[in-house]
Every structure is written in structure tokens, then in C-alpha cells.
């Protein structure tokens, strides 16, 4: 801990969400020092996750103005009181889900009871810091700017609770680390930690966005022999299977390609576009392809009727469906009870069931070792001033992950 003067407020740039669904305004803000159990981070890069779109479109006016964004990579700038394990300069990933390692959920270790739903700072759409509810951001007029899930990464500096911060070793590429902050970990984690896909299994993944494709990679890493990708967008077939991601437009060319490595597909072995099936339900097609249904299915969109399709696509006796997609209206999913009775299971999770501090470093290592090939999920890159381009690309379904570099 520095014996010098205490951290001071920092003036920096941020993309402020001033009204629902409006383009973000890049402006100067002030970021207060970290309080007890808090860490102030300099964000290196961040990316746009579909859940940010959901938050951005919220029709609750009182939530704005707000700094959103929750998928990022950064470096510790200063720490507050009672923070151990982090020092200035550490490479870190902030996460929307906390891990305290002390509550009953964090300590649960039996295979049946493992959960990442830490109860110390439970997941919520809070507007301030988690422990005291106050904010650390102000605009230049002195008005408070709300936080988002305790991360708020669309800012060159942010303040995060120590429970929501993951330390990474050196050598993890920033873009990779950034994706592990949400989407990539959710997908891989769901196959790896939640479903525990066994070698030789058959898997169906509904929705080949970032989370779905990460689940494809996760299933492949676990040795699944059949990975059926389901998406309404026919372009996703090539994305899922091919060795080269089709890039519609790139703002910044990727400066350094990874050194020569074997080009393999993302992992999809079969592709289904439900809009081309006519009257036949997708679950019936999958049943025919797999002798009764897949062992595991994953819903990665957040649409209840698709969750039901994913459920119906699993086989009797052993089928398991994992729900990852987030439905902001909390709509119900209708599960046919007779199919449930025939030995099927459904479970859901946030963050693919991973415990952030425990599992993100493991996943980072798998990326560095090429057990996971997630760089294909980065399709675009922009600077902070062009952050709204990232929104446009995602809304037009032209991107997977667009990295936003915080150039100072």
C-alpha cells in the first residue's frame, strides 16, 4: 500500500448513457477514489454484450444518466482500505457477479451444491456501488452518474468492489481477457462447469451469438462429438463451422495475428436454420439426427419459446437443458410436463455457472494454450469515440464482439 498521498478524483473520458436508447455521449467525467473494499481501475478495453443493449433500452427513466458496460479488461490504478490481493499495476477483469469465498454459496463444494450465486453482494440492477449504494461518478456539472451491475466499464476509469474483481497473470491478451469478463466465460462455462459435457456427447446450441459460439468452443473442448448449431441467420453456419470468420467490416485492422497455428473450425458439426424447416419443429429434426435427442442443449438468446424448443430437443432419460439467455421481461418458459417426467432436466445460470475468481484465470490459461480459440469472437474494433458504432453493429446483427479501446 502506498505511503504517499491518498488517491484523488480522476478526470477522464466516459461514454455516458443519458437517456434510454439514445446514442451514448462521450464526455469528460470525474471518478472518485475507491472507498473501503473498492478498487479503481484504468480500463484498457471493453466490449458490448447484448445484455448492455437490454439495460440501455430500459424504460425506467430514473436509471439514467448511467455508465453501462460490464465486459472489460483493465489495470489497477489504486485500492481502497481493507483491500488485499490487489496492487497498483495488476492486470484485472471486473465481473458483474461477485465471489466473496465466505458465504454459504461460495463455500459450497459438494458437486450437487456448487453454485456461483454469491449472496454477499447478490446480483441486482443496482444504481450505485454495492455496499453503500452511493456513486463514484460525476459529470462536470457535479451531477451523479449511476453505475451498472457494479462494473460500468464504458469509462476510462471505474471503481469496482473487490469481490467483483479477478486478478489475471501476465501474458493474457487484453481482448481475450475482456471477453472472459462475460460472454465467452458464460458460453464456455456452461458446457464445462454447468453441463459438464462428457466426451462423445451430442449437444445442440440455440443462438450462435458470442455466448452460443463460446458454448460451441466449450463443448468442443469437453470432447462433444456432435455439436448442432441452431440459428435463424444463415451466415452463422459459416461462422460456426468455418476456419475463417467472415468479417463484414473492420474499423481497425488487427495489428498482430497470433503466431502460426492450426486453423480449426469453431466446432459446429451440423447447422439448422429453423426458418427453413417448414412445419417441422426443430426438436423433431434434432431428434431424428441424434436417435432421440441430444444429451445437452443450450439456449443462448433469451426467448422462452426457444428455451422450450431447446428442452424438447434433448433425449429422454438423460437430457439436460441449460438456459443462459436473459429475458428482461422475466417471461415464463412452458415446459411440457410429460417430457419432464421422462427423465429430462432443465437448469439455468448466470455467467455459465463459473465462479469468477476461480475460473476466469483457468479459462485465460486455456486461451493462451490454444485449448480454446476465442479470438474469433472479436469481429470489430473501435476507439472510445466511436462506441456507438459498436451498438449499431450489434443491433444490425453484423458483429459478435466489437472491442472498444480506451485510448488516453
Amino acid at each position: 500500500m502506498a505511503g504517499q498521498s491518498l488517491p484523488k478524483p480522476i478526470r477522464c473520458k466516459a461514454a455516458v448513457c443519458r437517456a434510454s436508447g439514445e446514442p451514448l455521449v462521450v464526455e469528460e467525467i470525474v471518478v472518485d477514489p475507491p472507498r473501503a473494499y473498492e478498487v479503481r481501475i484504468k480500463i484498457v478495453c471493453t466490449s458490448l454484450c447484448h445484455t448492455d443493449i437490454t439495460v440501455w433500452r430500459s424504460n425506467v427513466a430514473s436509471k439514467f444518466p448511467r455508465i453501462i458496460g460490464h465486459e472489460a479488461f483493465g489495470v489497477v490504478e489504486s485500492v481502497g482500505e481493507h483491500v488485499s490481493g490487489f496492487v497498483t499495476g495488476d492486470a484485472v477483469v471486473p465481473t458483474f457477479l461477485g465471489q466473496c469465498d465466505a458465504c454459504r454459496s461460495c463455500r459450497s463444494s459438494s458437486p450437487e451444491r456448487t453454485t456461483n450465486m454469491c449472496t454477499t453482494l447478490p446480483l441486482s440492477d443496482s444504481l450505485g456501488m454495492r455496499r453503500d449504494g452511493t456513486v463514484r461518478f460525476r459529470d462536470l456539472q457535479g451531477n451523479p452518474l449511476n453505475h451498472c451491475v457494479g462494473v460500468s466499464s464504458f469509462s476510462q476509469y471505474t471503481v469496482v468492489d473487490v469481490n467483483q474483481l479477478v486478478k489475471l497473470g501476465d501474458g493474457v491478451p487484453p481482448k481475450m481477457a475482456c471477453l472472459l469478463g462475460c460472454g465467452a466465460s458464460t458460453g464456455v462455462g456452461a458446457a464445462w462447469r454447468l453441463a459438464k459435457v462428457e466426451p462423445g456427447s451430442s449437444v445442440a446450441i440455440f443462438g450462435l451469438g458470442t455466448v452460443g459460439l463460446a458454448a460451441v468452443q466449450g463443448a468442443k473442448m469437453c470432447g462433444a462429438s456432435k455439436i448442432i448449431g441452431v440459428d435463424l441467420n444463415p451466415d452463422k453456419e459459416e461462422v460456426g463451422k468455418s476456419i475463417l470468420l467472415s468479417i463484414s467490416s473492420t474499423i481497425y485492422l488487427v495489428a498482430s495475428r497470433p503466431p502460426k497455428r492450426q486453423r480449426k473450425g469453431m466446432g459446429v458439426t451440423d447447422f439448422i436454420n429453423p426458418s427453413q424447416l417448414g412445419e417441422t419443429p426443430v426438436s423433431e429434426v434434432i431428434g431424428a439426427m441424434t436417435g432421440g435427442g441430444v444429451d445437452y442443449s443450450f439456449e443462448c438468446i433469451g426467448v422462452p419459446s426457444v428455451m422450450a424448443d431447446a428442452f424438447r430437443s434433448t433425449k429422454m432419460g438423460t437430457g439436460m437443458t441449460i438456459i443462459l439467455g436473459f429475458n428482461e421481461n422475466n417471461e415464463p418458459v412452458a415446459l411440457p410436463s410429460l417430457e419432464l417426467l421422462h427423465g429430462k432436466r432443465v437448469m439455468g445460470a448466470f455467467f455459465g455457472g463459473i465462479k469468477p475468481k476461480t475460473d476466469i484465470p483457468i479459462l485465460a490459461k486455456k486461451c493462451v494454450n490454444n485449448e480454446l480459440e476465442l479470438e474469433r469472437l472479436v469481429t470489430h474494433e473501435v476507439g472510445l469515440q466511436d462506441i456507438n458504432t459498436a451498438f449499431d453493429l450489434l443491433l444490425q446483427k453484423k458483429s459478435l464482439r466489437c472491442i472498444i479501446w480506451m485510448v488516453k
Binding site: 454459496s105 438423460t318 415446459l335 421422462h342 432436466r345 445460470a349
Partner: protein, 455 residues
Amino acid sequence: MMPGHLPLLCLGWCTVLELATSASLHYTIDAERAPTDAQHIARSSSNINRGSDFSDFQRVFFPAAMEQNTPRPIRCKAAVSKAPGQSLEMEEVEVAPPRAHEVRIKVICTSLCHTDLTVWRMKDFPATYPSILGHEAVGVVESVGDHVSEVSVGDTVVPVFLAQCGDCGDCLSRRSNICSNLPPRMTTGMPRDGTTRFSLAATGEPVHNFLSVSSFAEYTVVDVAHVVKVGKHVPPAMACLLSCGVSTGVGAAWKVAAVEAGSTVAVFGLGTVGLAVAQGAKMCGAKRIIGVDLNPDKFEIGKRLGVTDFVNPNDTAEKPVSEVIKEMTGGGADYCFECIGSAPAMAEAFRSSRTGWGKTVILGTDGKAEPVSISSTEIKRGRSVHGALLGGIKPKDDIPVLAQKYLDKELQLDEFVTHETGFDEINGAFELLEQGKCLRCIIWMDGAKAKESSA
């Protein structure tokens, strides 16, 4: 040499070889048996409640149908369902001999499960008319068809609606009990060829079977994959219970949920299945077993079977049961079981489970396959929903294990038999269940109960 060719004049045939060694309850038997041995059957000396073991039944002669070597059709009584919701009618039926992979069983006793009641009331599929219902029973093998080596004439067996072929990927997997060779179905007919073995003796009109068992008849024919051999020292009424309802409940706690010691459990519906869940949870060491039922009488018997707390949805002052349970448990139960077959109850059971690891197990069916409505966000908080048939157990492997647990007093099953009656009074059993006045009413086939009590 096929057991079916052997003359059967005396039940002394039906040997009880392992009375003393109750541990060896499995379904393969040695095939070497001299056809003319008339072995003396020792009476079991174990302290079995509800009367004696099967040795008394073995003094009953089989009908003269067996005077030749090939099994012939048997004429006997059956309780036939002829119209939705109407009293069963006693008819003389002809029961064809067992074909390949089939076993003809002389039913000792049977009981009424709510699923029989549900289908009995239905006009359309899966109900068919005329049919012989009943799928919970125990009996003695009377004859076997070709390719049956797993059981022999005289063995005590429990027929089960769920098959275990032992060969397919599901049967070989630890995780599944849904045999894929002979998958469960609600359609009638024998599992391999879809035909029935029953016809009305007077007219020859075929009578449909039910769930591959049809136990409301003095004799029935069951596929060997649906037959579980049990030891002769298991009291018949207890073996009968394990044929469906009790195994479903105990299995759900033991296998599907794998309830850990110290857990909190909520059981929706305290009928036979629900109370069996309570027993299973207690056997697994659950600390708290909350029973939910509209009938306050269920608490007394529930307490005897392991229920520690009782919630009556009529007495919660408009508060949803899930709210009450969450308050009682500080956030929700570790495991919730739905044992009624009501879609709204299934949803309420789900809402009663805790975040992080709350598991909801669905056991009930309403026959109409109503969808269960689950919050897409609440399930993401670490919850899961599982369903199972027969409590996730593999019948041939696990029913004998449960029978042994009963004998070892790890499971308390006597309480489930609340009534007994003779076959002629079977409609009385329907009335009792309809009125919610019984758990299991054991229906003794003619003579069986009398023989037992006179022993």
C-alpha cells in the same frame, strides 16, 4: 430345456432357494433344475409384518392348463373397465399363454395407484375400452415363453410399467432409467408386438392391456423386461407397494434428488408417492421435511413417515405457499417434489426452491400433459427442474434393494397399506382413493388372503 415345458402339478415346484440369504436378491437364477424335484419349502422365520411369506401359496395347485408341457390359455376373473369412470365389471377372461420374452403371472395381490384412477376416468387416449387396468402388483410366475431365463416358474415377481432390458445405452448408463429398447408408452398392447393377451371368454372380444402390466386380473402376461424378481421372504403387500408408488417416491429422494443429510425438503402432495418421498428423504438424512397438502388428516400419518412441518395452502391467509416455505427455510428448500400432477403445483414447487442449488423434482402427471410455467430469470439463479418416472430407479436393480431396506427397517412401508379388500370388492378401492380416504388399498386375489390368514 425350457421351464415352460415342465409339468406343474404342485407348487412345491416353485422353489424358495434363498430364504436365509436375503442379501442375494437379484433376478438371475440358475437354470439347472430337475423337473421332478418336489422341494420342501421352509417357512420363513423372519419377523415380517402383514402375514407370512409365500410358502403357503405354493401349496395351491395351478389349473389343469398345465397338464401338458406347453402352456395353454387360462380362463380366470378380471375386473374390466368398459366405460369412463364406471365401476369395473368382473368378467371371465381368457389369458393367452406367454409368447417369446413373456411371462405369465398369477397375481397374488394388487393395489390401486392414482394413475390408474386418472386413466379410468378418461374418455380418450390413453384410455381404451374395454381394458384391464392396474399396474402395481406382486405375483408368482406360472409359465414362461421362449427366451426367458431370468425367471422361472414359481418365482415371486413384481411387474413394473417401466422396462429394464439391460442391454441398451440407457440401461447401461448410470444416469438414465428410461430403457430405449422398450421405452415407456401409454399405448396399449404388449411392448414387443403391440397385441393383447386378453379376451373375453364368452365372446372372444379382445380386451386391452394397460401399461404393459394389467394387474386387475387373476393372471396376466408381462414382458420379461418388465418383471422384477423379489425374494420370497418379502411380504407380498410390501412387494406390491414397490411395484410403483412407493418406489417412485423413495427413488425420487434417493436417486433423482440424491438428498444429502441435513437437507431441507418440501413435498407437495402427501399421497402415497409424496409420503414415500418423505420416507426416502428421511432415509437420506434430511433434517427438515415440509409436507404440503390440502387435507389436514395427512399430517398425522405424514409425521409417522418423516414429515416435520406441515403447510396447508388453505391456511396460509392468502400467502402463496412458496412464500411461506421461503420464510420457513430462509430462502427456499434445497429440494422440492411435486407428487400430484398439477401444473400450478409444479410451478409453486419450483418457486419454493432456493437459489444457488434448489432442485425441483416432478413426479406427478395429470394425463393431459399440461405445460409447467417456469420463470426464465428465476431458473437462471442456479435452480433446476428434473422429472422422472418410477423415481429414477432401475426396477430390476433397485426394487430388490428397496425391499431389503424395508426388511432392514431403514424404510418404513407398513403405514402405506391403509386398507385391504378382496378382488370382488375392487370398486370399493376406487371409491376410497377418489375420496382421498386411503393411501394404498391392497386387493387380494381370491383365496390368496384367505390362505395367508389361515396359515
